[in-house]
């Protein structure tokens, strides 16, 4: 299963629902384009919903880091929502869990942008 990223707006926050495999190649490229596209439109508060991500490799993790730094460098915030166990474990192993602001419920994640 390849990766799919669907963008929706919740209040002023851009939620990107990501599903499938985030791996080296087209998937990473597509995710990068979606993030850069939103930044290009001035959307600087992004919430990546990873609930349906079935697999992520080291390149996919790198792409999340790349997205994080791209958003941060523009004064925005990128947060993660609904990590699967696999993604959660990988972020723990790579010590990135402390870098990302991770949430388990969408409403809480959305409101965290308002209070940030």
């Amino acid at each position: 299963m390849s990766m799919k990223a669907t963008v929706r707006q919740v209040d002023s926050i851009t939620v990107v629902d990501v599903s499938g495999r985030i791996t080296l190649g087209e998937a990473c490229k597509e995710l990068r384009e979606v993030i850069r596209g939103q930044l290009g439109k001035g959307q600087k508060n992004l919430l990546l919903n990873l609930a349906d991500v079935t697999y992520i490799d080291s390149s996919g993790i790198g792409e999340l880091v790349s997205a994080y730094t791209a958003v941060s460098s523009q004064g925005g915030q990128l947060k993660l929502l609904n990590l699967t166990k696999k993604v959660h474990d990988l972020l723990q192993i790579t010590k990135l869990y402390t870098v990302f602001d991770v949430h388990n419920d969408e409403a809480g994640a959305i409101s965290s942008f308002r209070t940030a």
Partner: protein, 152 residues
């Protein structure tokens, strides 16, 4: 050939599509060897990263160079060999992805994950070119001292 091992091997072209072929083989072999879902995922991930490393960093995507993948199933462990035809690398020179200054690097986590997910890891270089990554996963639940076989 080691008489104690059941061996599955394949030679792959240096194409990204072949990473999924290698993963599928890893899934199949690890399941037949008796690994559970989580260990199977770790093996699949290690093979995924190892083959990507061989294609991109070893063979530099040269279509004339191959990736040699071998699974050796022992009674108490699975040994995997991934050999490229490149110039080789020294894993001790790879930057630590957990170091504060490297934490936000976009790349450099592949071999780190292989080390984390497998029980043994080593790299051997061949005089005529080519590097072999060798990784082992123990079937810990089955290990009994008197069943452990002699290694080659």
């Amino acid at each position: 050939m080691n008489p104690d091992a059941s061996i599955v091997e394949v030679v792959l072209e240096s194409k990204l599509q072949n990473v999924e072929v290698a993963e599928e083989m890893a899934r199949s072999v690890s399941a037949k060897a008796g690994f559970g879902e989580e260990a199977g995922y770790h093996i699949e991930m290690a093979v995924h990263e190892g083959v990507i490393n061989a294609i991109y960093h070893g063979n530099k995507e040269d279509p004339g160079k191959k990736v040699h993948l071998k699974f050796m199933v022992f009674e108490d462990e699975l040994e995997i060999h991934i050999r490229d035809e490149g110039k080789g690398f020294d894993p001790s020179t790879l930057p630590d992805p957990l170091a504060r200054e490297n934490l936000l690097n976009v790349s450099g986590r592949g071999i780190f994950l292989v080390r984390k997910f497998m029980d043994e890891f080593r790299v051997e270089s061949f005089p005529g070119g080519g590097t072999e990554v060798i990784m082992v996963k123990h079937l810990t639940s089955r290990i009994e001292p008197n069943l452990r076989r002699n290694r080659p």
